[in-house]
C-alpha cells in the first residue's frame, strides 16, 4: 500500500512541476511561433513538435546520452543539480518537460493565433505597451488554450512510461512513477494492485478529457471580436 501511495505522490509531484515549468517555458515559445514572421519559425515549430511523433525510447536514449556525466550538457547539469541527471527526479522533470512540450505549446499557440492582430492593435491605440497588451489582452483571450495546454501536459506526464524507463529507471520514491509501478505489479503478478492503479488511471484520464471538453466550451466565447 505504501509503495502505491509513494508512486502516486511521485507521479503527481512530477506532473505538477512539469506543468508549471511547461507553462513558463511554453508560453514564450507559443507566442513567438504565433506572432513571428521569421521564415525559419516552422523549423522551430517542427522541433518543438518532434516529441509528439518520436518513440519515447528514442527520445529517452538521446536524453540519456546528453545527460551522461561525460557530455558537456551532463557536466553542466551536474554542476547545477549537484548530481548527474539520469536516474534522479530532476532528470525526470527535465525529460518530462521536453517530452510534453508539444502538448503545452500547440494549444497555446493555436489560441494566440486565433486572437489575430486586431485586438492587440486596438490595445496599442488605447496606450497599452507590448507587455501590457500581452498580459491584459493576449493571455485572457487565450486562456482556453492555457487550460488545454496545462491539462494535457499534466495528463501526458502522468501517462509517461518509455522516457521514464530510459532516464529514470525504477527507484522507489525517486523515479518509480505510476506507469512503472503498474508494469512492475504486472511483472510480479500482483494483479490486484495493478488493477487499482490501472483502473484509477482510466477514471483519471476520462475526467481529464471531460474537463478539457467542458472548459473549452465554457471558455470558448466564440471568436467574435467585432
Amino acid at each position: 500500500m505504501h509503495a502505491m501511495i509513494e508512486a502516486i505522490r511521485l507521479t503527481v509531484t512530477l506532473a505538477l512541476v512539469t506543468t508549471v515549468l511547461l507553462m513558463i517555458v511554453g508560453t514564450p515559445i507559443a507566442w513567438w511561433l504565433a506572432r513571428s514572421r521569421a521564415w525559419w519559425k516552422e523549423i522551430v515549430g517542427a522541433v518543438v513538435t518532434l516529441p509528439l511523433v518520436l518513440p519515447p525510447t528514442v527520445l529517452g536514449f538521446y536524453l540519456l546520452l546528453a545527460f551522461s556525466p561525460t557530455s558537456p550538457l551532463g557536466q553542466a547539469a551536474t554542476a547545477v543539480f549537484g548530481h548527474a541527471l539520469p536516474f534522479s527526479f530532476e532528470g525526470l522533470v527535465v525529460a518530462s518537460v521536453i517530452y510534453s512540450l508539444p502538448f503545452a505549446v500547440q494549444p497555446i499557440r493555436n489560441a494566440f493565433e486565433a486572437i489575430g492582430d486586431r485586438p492587440l492593435e486596438v490595445a496599442a491605440t488605447l496606450r497599452a505597451g507590448p507587455w501590457d497588451r500581452f498580459l491584459t489582452v493576449a493571455v485572457p483571450l487565450a486562456r482556453g488554450g492555457f487550460l488545454s495546454g496545462a491539462v494535457l501536459s499534466f495528463a501526458h506526464t502522468v501517462g509517461e512510461f518509455g522516457v521514464v524507463l530510459m532516464i529514470g529507471g525504477n527507484i522507489p520514491g525517486e523515479t518509480k512513477v505510476l506507469s512503472i509501478a503498474i508494469y512492475d505489479y504486472v511483472e510480479t503478478l500482483q494483479w490486484g494492485k495493478a488493477h487499482i492503479l490501472a483502473g484509477g488511471m482510466v477514471v483519471f484520464s476520462f475526467l481529464v478529457i471531460l474537463t478539457v471538453g467542458l472548459a473549452g466550451k465554457r471558455l470558448g466565447w466564440g471568436r467574435e471580436t467585432r
Binding site: R118, E121, A124, T125, R127, A128, R226
Partner: protein
Amino acid sequence: MSLITALFRGRLGGFALDVRFDVPARGVTALFGPSGCGKTTVLRCVAGLTRLPDAALRVDGDVWQDGRLRFVPPHRRPVGYVFQEASLFPHLSVTDNLRYGQRRVRDVPHPVAFEDVVELLGLARLLDRPTAVLSGGERQRVAIGRALLSQPRLLLMDEPLSALDRTSKDEILPYLERLHDRLEIPVLYVSHDIAEVERLADTLVLLEAGRVRAVGPLADLLADPVLPLARLPEAAEVLEAEVLAVDGAYGLSTVAVSGGRLFVPGVAGEPGTRRRLRILAADVSLRRTPTAEGESSILNVLPARITGAEPTGDHLMTVFLALGADGGGAPLLARITRKSWDLLGLAPGQAVYAMIKGVALLDKG
C-alpha cells in the same frame, strides 16, 4: 495654426503609396476615395500601426515620425482609433472596454469625463451588459466612446459606419455630428461614401490609387471642375448657412448663404444658428429670367453666374455656378440636359437664375 503634416511613401504588398498632405488639426478631415486607394493605410500610418521607413508625420507641432530617425510607437501616440468593426474586447464588460484606454493615460490637462462620454453616446443602458449581446450600432458607439476616453489629441476613424446596416448608420450619424460639434478633437475620417463626407467633413483629402489628388475645404473640392467629384451622379454642394427666421405656420425657415437667401424645410433652429445645407446638382435647374411671385412652385430661385460647364455622360451637362448677381457668392452645381444648355444659349460668365428644388439640412442643429 495647428497642422497635421503627413508624408507616407513606400510599397506595401503590391501597392505603392505616395501621399503627402497638410491639413488643419481641427474639425473633421475626410480621407476620401474609392476602395483600395490607400485611405486605411494612411490612417494606420498616422496611428503607427503600419510603419513605412520613408515617412514623416507631425501633428500639432509634435514629431511622430521622421523617417527612420524617429518613430513614436502606437501606444505612445495620443490617438483614438475607431476601426471598421467595433473590435470590443470580448473578455471585458462594456464599462471595462470603455475604461481600458482611460486607465492608461495620465496628466491630460482637460480630460474627457466618463460620464460625458456615456451621455454623449447614449451608453448608460449598455454599461452593465456583456459585449456579446450588443447590436452592431451599439458596439460601434462603445468603440467610439472607448477611443474618446483614451483622451486622444487626434481621433482616427476608419469607415466606422461601413460595417453597419442602414438603421444602425442612421443611429450613429447623429452621435458623430454631436461629437463634431461638442468636442474640439480633430478627426481624420476615412470614407468612400460621399454622402457621409458631406455630412461630417470640413476638409477633404481626395485620394486616388495611393496618391493625393486634391486637398482643401470640402465645399471647394465638391464644386471643383478639375476633380471627379462634380461628375458623380450624386454630385452635390454643401453650403454654410445662418438661420435668419422661422416661419412656423408653413414649417419653413429662412437661411442666409453667401450670395443669397434660401427657404429650407423645418425649423432650422434659433436665428443665428449655423447649419450646413446640401444641394444636389440634380435638384438645381436654370432659367434666364427671374420668376415673378406666383409663377412657379419652386421657392428658391437665386441669381447666379455660370463659371464653367462640362458635359456629363451622353445627354447631361454639369454647370458650375457662383451664387449672387455678381457671382461673388458660394459655389453651386446644376445638372441640366445638353439640349437645355443649347436651347437657353448658356455660356460661362452668363448671369442666370438657379431654381433649387431641394435643400437638405445636414443635421448639425
